[in-house]
Amino acid sequence: MQRTAVLFAALAALALSLPATAQKAVTLNVVTAGDQNMVDYLKDYLGPMFEKEHPGVTVKAVGTGPGDAGSQKIYEKLEAEKANPAWDIDVAVIHQKAAGEMVGKGLLARYSAEIPTGKLVTSEAAKNALGSDVGGYVMPMFNSQTAIAYNTAMVSDPPATYDALEKWVRVNPKKFGYNGIKGGMSGVSFVVGWIYAHSPDTDRLIKGPYDPDTKKSWDPILAELAAFNKNVVLTPGNAGTLDMLNRGEIAMGPVWVDMFYTWQSDGKIPPGVKLKLIGPGMPGQPMYYVVPAKAANAKVAEDFIALATSPKVQADGIVKRFNWYPGIDTAAVKPQLDEASWSKLFVDVTPEDLATKGKPFPIASYFNDILETYERKVQ
């Protein structure tokens, strides 16, 4: 009799304790656009660190693919489940174009003022995404920049501007390569830089207001680009440009700075290949941490982003491990880093270069106009 009572008591205790643990266990769904390195960063670095500080939380990282296409998928998923009471994405990492659209559609939560690292964000990109006001809805994960990579064995004195590059390509046909506009953002960035270099009013493209007639003035500019293209190699994708640099098939090409340094440290790019940010400037972009408006675990999501944007993680994770530029104020990150890691990121592209030649992408309407005019006039 007594034995049965003990057994029952044990069973009851077990039954009571089960729902308690089930409630405590939280799965935080982090969905990221971007290349595989984004998923690796969340899965191997940030996720385990957060799980250690928050027992009972499991971080599940999922990638949706590179470029705006990846962000578009996140946008479409949230849009599709809009009517549901709770959404199954807790933290999303997205590009600028999608961020502007998602804020406009009311899909994102306004959270950055509520987390301690919110005040460390000073960049213009945290307020303005391709012309949309995103202030408060986003925390930049990092800033990335495009630049021209060149092989010092083949080019001793690299061109410093778009004009000089145009001349160089005429003298050295088929030694410059980029990936057009359909194979990834480094090519898109090169084309946008071309428009910036030749257009009389770059500021308006970046800040607006939008005028649908502006694109008519690009016809001669893009005719020059079409002529330029005759002497260049069109590479298959961001990785295609790096591959061709690696195999010595081209001497120069536009690349993402972070991807370039990562490939170089993996030994996939020879040490003799260097970077130059050419004038008047080339675009770069941040990626944003956002919390969907009806995220099931919004509070935990905010804690996760607070950790991700803390100076320590920005120094160790973003700068040191992945060669990105920090998303929060660099002044807050620098004290966390040793001199070598800091200077490695700023050897080829100096902070002054970044300040003067690192441009944002144009506002969304001009951006689409540039791509479509390129399709019409250059291809």
Binding site: G67, A69, G180, K182, P236, G237, R247, E249
Partner: protein, 272 residues
């Protein structure tokens, strides 16, 4: 009633996963963003991607023709080959690409066909060519090479099976009368298996028409295949209208192939 219940699950699958999306795609192709019926999407599709449509048709047609050629050659050698070891080696090797996905094939070809890639470097090491004078094949040629490499085993598998089941008496009679291998293949064997060849090539044509990974990974230049343009319309502009108009063009191409396929099946009375 009972019959209806039996087909209901299959029918529901077809309706939900094929008919409904197809209808949505057509609606989106023939309407503006506000839902008004219009042909604007097609006007834009032909204005911007007219070249790409022609390019797609040419690339896929050429690849299909080459696939047919190689499949016939492989099938023919398996039947007529005089050297048993060579036949055995070919038989065990030719099917391998069947099991490799398009995206993996494309990734391999990226390093194989590049200017300083494996193929050119091998030729250069053998002293056959000078790499400096070569160009890479990472353009329309690379797409064709990859397609043919990937689709030939599939068609060859179908065709060689049919060849093996032919009455050997006709082949031996031709050989006795002095016909060479090539003549037996083209005048005796191929006419007898032509129906199956058409079916195999039709399926290969439709498959190649739908591949996105190969053109996007192999060729950065333009013109390119319309699958790339469709992806670009959606990813860069969120523009499903023009993407669906291009999709409609590809339905028409696939529909033509399907028409040939069905006509062949009716003529044969075969179920393949």
């Amino acid at each position: 009633m009972g019959i209806l219940l039996l087909v209901a699950p299959a029918l529901a699958m077809v309706l939900a996963l094929f008919v409904y999306p197809l209808a949505m795609s057509l609606v989106s192709a023939f309407t503006t963003k506000d839902g008004a019926p219009s042909l604007d999407n097609f006007a834009k599709a032909f204005e911007l991607y007219g070249n790409d449509i022609v390019f797609t048709l040419v690339i896929v047609s050429v690849s299909t023709a080459l696939t047919g050629l190689f499949a016939a050659a492989i099938g023919g050698y398996l039947i007529l080959g005089a050297h048993p070891t060579a036949v055995a080696i070919l038989r065990s090797l030719y099917r391998w690409p069947l099991f490799i996905p398009f995206i993996v094939a494309a990734q391999c070809m990226r390093t194989f066909l590049a200017k300083n890639g494996l193929m050119n470097n091998t030729l250069a090491t053998l002293g056959l060519v000078n790499v400096g004078s070569l160009s890479g094949l990472l353009d329309w040629r690379g797409i064709i090479v990859t397609f043919v490499w990937k689709e030939t085993p599939f068609v060859a598998l179908l065709v060689s099976g049919a060849m093996a089941s032919l009455d050997r008496a006709t082949i031996e009679a031709a050989a006795n009368l002095g016909a060479g291998g090539l003549r037996i293949l083209t005048e005796i064997i191929l006419p007898q298996i032509a129906g199956l060849m058409v079916v195999g090539l039709t399926l290969a044509f439709v498959t190649m028409l739908s591949v996105l990974s190969v053109p996007i990974m192999i060729s950065g230049g333009s013109p390119t295949m319309i699958t790339v343009d469709m992806a670009f319309r959606v990813n860069s502009y969120g523009d499903y209208g023009v993407a669906n108009a291009l999709a409609f063009v590809s339905y028409v191409m696939a529909g033509l192939a399907a028409w040939i396929y069905l006509r062949r099946n009716v003529a044969d009375g075969s179920g393949l």
